[in-house]
């Protein structure tokens, strides 16, 4: 009996080694001190990279509840040469819990290169938006690298009941207004504009903004869990959807001054 008591107390003491010794609610948003402003930190690391003729990055999406595959991806990505960063196109979590964001960050922070996260529809469940905001920062943001502008935004219209607020078109219009100053641009979001969960009322204006500058070299997305690359609007702009982590898929993107190459890969 004493042994049983000791074992139980031992288990309780072990919990002081738990990720969170005390968990108050599955809905709590309580990231560790080092888990804040992660996108801003990653963008700062990317900005510090030396200029080059062409650069390479990996597009991934939908880590969701595939932690073992995230481990394998990190090993595969760290074995690649001359990768500059990784873009994670949403559905970081399955249930929108901050704990899940932390589990994914714990793994992706082992990448040799910085990674940037975009919000997905699952990341808006429960208090997911609060957690994403605290850990990664704004849902709509841009950064530039080596003459390219990356326009990253929340396109998960369904999560606000198709009320017209997502994607935030006024922000997108402003973000796309200065593309003539760049060699090229990428639009990155979880939901592609032709997806069922993208607000139809914004479809035409969104795709027109992607088209009009002539600078966008690709519209990059996740959500559909299966790789696809097409030009749905016959405007010369590829729409690339990366497969989810359980499909062990990433897209290797090589961006030169004028041309961009996409390579579908598995690990």
């Amino acid at each position: 009996m004493k042994r049983l008591t000791a074992a139980l107390l031992g288990l309780a003491l072990c919990c002081t080694a738990c990720k969170k010794t005390f968990q108050f609610s599955p809905h709590e948003v309580r990231p560790a001190a080092g888990e804040r402003a992660l996108n801003a930190k990653a963008i700062a690391r990317i900005a510090a990279l030396p200029p080059k003729n062409s650069f390479r990055f990996l597009l991934v999406g939908d880590t969701q509840r595939f932690y073992e595959q995230v481990d394998d991806f990190v090993a595969a990505a760290n074995a690649l040469d001359s990768i500059d960063f990784v873009l994670l196109a949403g559905d970081i979590t399955d249930f929108g819990m901050q704990t899940e964001f932390s589990w994914v960050h714990e793994r992706l922070s082992r990448l040799r290169v910085p990674y940037i996260a975009i919000i997905g529809n699952h990341d808006m469940l429960a208090n997911g938006r609060t957690a994403f905001g605290q850990m990664y920062g704004p849902e709509n943001f841009t950064f530039s690298y080596n003459g390219y502008k990356f326009v990253c935004l929340n396109t998960n219209s369904n999560e606000t009941g198709f009320d017209g607020s997502l994607p935030e078109m006024s922000w997108f219009g402003r973000a796309m207004a200065d593309l003539e100053r760049y060699d090229g641009a990428f639009v990155v979001s979880h939901m592609a504009p032709y997806d069922e969960l993208f607000d139809r009322r914004h479809h035409d204006a969104f795709t027109a903004l992607v088209r009009q500058s002539g600078k966008v070299r690709g519209s990059l997305h996740g959500h559909q869990h299966r790789f696809s690359m097409q030009q749905p609007y016959n405007d010369g702009i590829p729409y690339v959807v990366v497969g989810s982590f359980n499909r062990r898929n990433y897209v290797l993107v090589t961006a030169g001054k004028e041309t961009v190459n996409y390579e579908e890969r598995y690990y």
Partner: protein, 196 residues
């Protein structure tokens, strides 16, 4: 829906059985046998509520309200929960205390707020999320120690602890046991109990 859940929980409580030792007059079924104040444990930063025991005292049901202030949890979180705890081992005395070295239990909790749902919202074109965010289940093991405060042995103060997890954490672990560790999903709760 909320009302239905509250009614369901209230309806289940008498089934747990109101305690009454043979020598003492029986209580009305709805009079609690005790109260608890708990810290952590997936049902609130602090949660408080009432307890009901069966006659043998090896089963205990709790009905608690828990709160996480935004200053702690990022957002204000209001949760009601119901716990059922089984004490499979006969209590034994340790220097004036009555120790129950093992407990095992389940809990169900409901969290209030428009950002949570029991069923996927109507605006979805098809059944998209097949899990509720407003409700969660939990499992825990623990133990307690109590001390009598009156000659009537039912009047006791005590401390308890639990180590537990919740449904969504557990499914994450089970499907990723090569990557996640038990310590990723387990957490500790401690509480004060008073029975009368």
């Amino acid at each position: 829906m909320r009302n239905a859940i509250i009614k369901l929980v209230l309806a289940l409580l008498p089934a747990l059985g109101a305690a009454a030792q043979d020598s003492l007059p029986p209580r009305r079924w709805w009079v609690p046998d005790g109260a608890k104040l708990q810290f952590a444990g997936n049902i609130g930063f602090l949660s408080a509520g009432v307890s009901y025991n069966n006659r043998r005292g090896n089963l205990e049901g709790d009905f608690l309200y828990g709160y996480v202030p935004a200053s702690v949890g990022g957002v204000d979180i209001h949760t009601i929960s119901s716990k059922l705890t089984w004490f499979p081992v006969r209590p034994f005395p340790v220097s004036g205390l009555r120790v129950r070295p093992l407990s095992a239990g389940v809990l169900v909790a409901y969290t209030f707020g428009k950002q949570y749902f029991l069923f996927a919202p109507k605006n979805y074109p098809y059944t998209y999320y097949d899990f509720p965010t407003a409700m969660h289940f939990g499992l825990f093991v623990g133990g307690d120690a109590t001390i009598a405060v009156k000659s009537d042995a039912r009047h006791r103060w005590g401390l308890y602890y639990e180590v537990g997890t919740t449904d969504k954490l557990l499914i994450s672990y089970v499907t990723n046991h090569r990557s996640l560790r038990p310590s990723d999903i387990l957490s500790l709760a401690i509480g004060v109990r008073r029975s009368w």
